[in-house]
Subunit: 179 residues, 2 copies
């Protein structure tokens, strides 16, 4: 079955600092027309920094859309659509936690919400950590926290960790390390 939708009209409704929003008109496989709301996002990178003691470094930060503090692995947006994901991950890890890592293992990519958004998040496991000073952006307020991997897995299973990329990176790391 051909599932492809063909773009007929592409119309920008909003161009922002982080996201753009388009309303497109498409031709469906059956020939009918339909509207599509699309958020454009530059994509991001999420790093699971694992210490020699088997602890993951997390950040707690206020997530304005939910009006709550959310526990996440260090992550950030790509500076531009084609920024090399690993460079972005190294920068975000350093900025948010002060850590640098000797080894990075690619853990796959994530489509967070494919119904309306083109964001892709690249995941890495980072080991061989050494620590300096965190270098948060001027308007970035985060608290760093260390949690043993095993406990982090329990927190995913118990629904204490809600962030999608964080859940995936933890569960994949645990499975890779056979925990």
């Amino acid at each position: 079955m051909n599932l492809k939708e063909e773009t007929l009209i592409r119309e920008y409704q909003f161009r922002g600092r982080i996201i753009n929003l388009r309303t497109d008109t498409v031709k469906l496989p059956n020939g009918a027309e339909a509207g599509r709301e699309v958020v454009e996002h530059p994509g991001g990178v999420c790093v699971a920094p694992l210490t020699g003691a088997g602890e993951l470094l997390f950040v707690r930060q206020y997530r304005y859309p939910y009006e709550e503090v959310v526990l996440e692995l260090p992550a950030g947006k790509r500076d531009r659509k084609n920024e090399e994901p690993l460079s972005c991950g190294k920068r975000e890890l350093l900025e948010e936690t002060g850590a640098t890592a000797e080894n990075y293992t690619f853990l796959g990519k994530v489509y967070p919400t494919p119904g309306f958004c083109d964001e892709v998040i690249y995941l890495y496991l980072a080991t061989g950590l050494s620590f300096g000073e965190a270098q948060p952006d001027e308007d970035e307020f985060v608290e760093v926290e260390r949690i043993p991997l095993e406990r982090a897995v329990d927190m995913v299973m118990n629904n204490e960790i809600t962030d999608a990329k964080t859940q995936i990176a933890i569960l994949k790391t645990a499975r890779l390390l056979k925990q």
Copy 2:
């Protein structure tokens, strides 16, 4: 540390069929002001339908933002912000696959992309399946596919499955069932 951001101005830039977009001005913990781009979404439900033979039911559908066919577990948007998640899950499972389930186990909730969107996805494991006719929406084109749970886990680990909710539901199901 107080991490809360206080809303000073809330301004709608777009109101759509599925999402709205606001640009808000907030007061940061240090008293400075900053802009926030927020996508409002009604939230959704994702169901991992597991047959007695240990196979998961998937749907393949064209995801316009990525311009590709994506393999996902059955899922859909809530009709309205306060629709009961389980009712929504049952409806989407029936519409997309024709299946109904005797037992639903809550697998937790997911914040797909907390930086700019308020979407919450509720996950369920569904067992005790019986099958009728799929009832897709008029503009919904999906192909149903059965994949053994163990193979699905490999596909997550090998980066053949990219959708966030699908990765999480598979890895949580496997861990619950000790696979």
